[in-house]
């Protein structure tokens, strides 16, 4: 199996994305349409991020740092939505959003880990302090996470050296913006507050994440082949 033919099934090993898509009764597109779209989107992403090993140069030191920074933010988001799903406290549109976003953020984690290989940072342990257990705190936190992710990716756009990685990063960046708008809509605030979104530097983003105290412990850099404890 070549990396460029990666299918949805491979990106979505736990089936959450397919299950989420199967429940999309409110969407006008057919399930087949959505599956095809998700497959195409994932394939493009992986094609950009994880070129076949034979032709792929390992990311440069700076790119590796940026990818690991992105990976940490994606770990945070995927763990948040995954835990929310497991808690099962959400209802209606918020529940559906959490399921879809969990699957998407897990796909981001998986792709970033794939391109980083043995250089990928390990998944930290998280403690979300109950915000995954109630709808309003969940939505407030989701808005903050998604807006933060948009600003974080934006802050790195000009720093990424390898063009395929830049292309992959911008195509995640705008997806995070769609998520931010979605969560803001569900929370009842304007999805697009300003004409321009501003970037945040890595220290600014890390200071905000540190303030949440959601990261309970950081484990050491993963050894080659080691898998995260949870799919998130």
């Amino acid at each position: 199996m070549s990396d460029t033919d990666l299918t949805l099934e491979q990106l979505d090993r736990d089936g959450a994305l397919r299950e989420a898509i199967a429940k999309l009764d409110e969407a006008q597109a057919t399930r087949a349409d959505l599956l095809r779209r998700a497959t195409v989107g994932s394939a493009a992403f992986v094609a950009a991020l994880a070129l076949p090993a034979s032709s792929r140069a390992a990311p440069s030191g700076r790119d590796r740092d940026i990818l690991n920074y992105a990976l940490t933010l994606e770990y945070l988001q995927s763990a948040f939505y995954t835990e929310t799903d497991l808690q099962g406290a959400l209802r209606g549109k918020a529940r559906r959003a959490s399921t879809v976003l969990g699957a998407v953020e897990r796909a981001h984690v998986k792709a970033l880990r794939k391109v980083l290989g043995s250089a990928a940072v390990a998944k930290p342990t998280f403690n979300f302090k109950g915000v995954t257990e109630q709808q309003t705190p969940f939505l407030r936190t989701a808005v903050a996470f998604e807006d933060l992710a948009v600003a974080a990716y934006k802050g790195q756009a000009g720093r990424i050296q390898a063009k395929p990685l830049l292309v992959a990063a911008v195509s995640i960046h705008s997806v995070e913006a769609r998520h931010a708008a979605w969560m803001r809509y569900l929370f009842g605030i304007t999805p697009a507050a300003e004409a321009f979104d501003e970037p945040l530097s890595r220290p600014e983003v890390e200071a905000i994440v540190a303030k949440t105290r959601f990261i309970a412990a950081r484990t050491q850099t993963s050894r080659k082949g080691r898998r995260p404890r949870l799919t998130g």
Partner: protein, 172 residues
Amino acid sequence: MGGALAAGASSGSAASPANDLRILNFALKLEELEAGFYAAAIDRGALRGEVREFAEVVVVHEREHVALLRKVLGAKAAARPTMRFGVAVTNPKKFVAAATALEDAVVAAYNGQAANVSPAVLAAAARIVSVEARHAAWIRAIAGKLPAVDPTDPILSAKQVEAAVNKLGFLR
């Protein structure tokens, strides 16, 4: 998709002042189209409720995008295109469909040029593209559709974007 990625990333369209100029004018045309579309829809008075609120907020953003691009381009800015919007500005259902297609095309257009522009243009485009993505998600939420399903957004070449925009039939 792989072809589009390859074209965007490695077709020899390395950043240069001439490329920046061409790409900025391409972005300007798309922003003019958006601003003109929303202004016309508001003007015709057929929109109600959330859809109207969306148009009123978004038109301001698109005008600010146009103003920024015109300022950057100065005398090199292309003239405003001639546009005609037909039923898309009088029929709310058609308006929602067109707004969704237009916003998606603009997101894909900016993403498709990210690897072809200078760092300064990339920084400006990055401040705009996520706002366009927010618009695209917002109009879907209003329409009762899922705002975001795919892990990544498409990366379209200028040609592919032109084709998507031409389907709307707004540009004369």
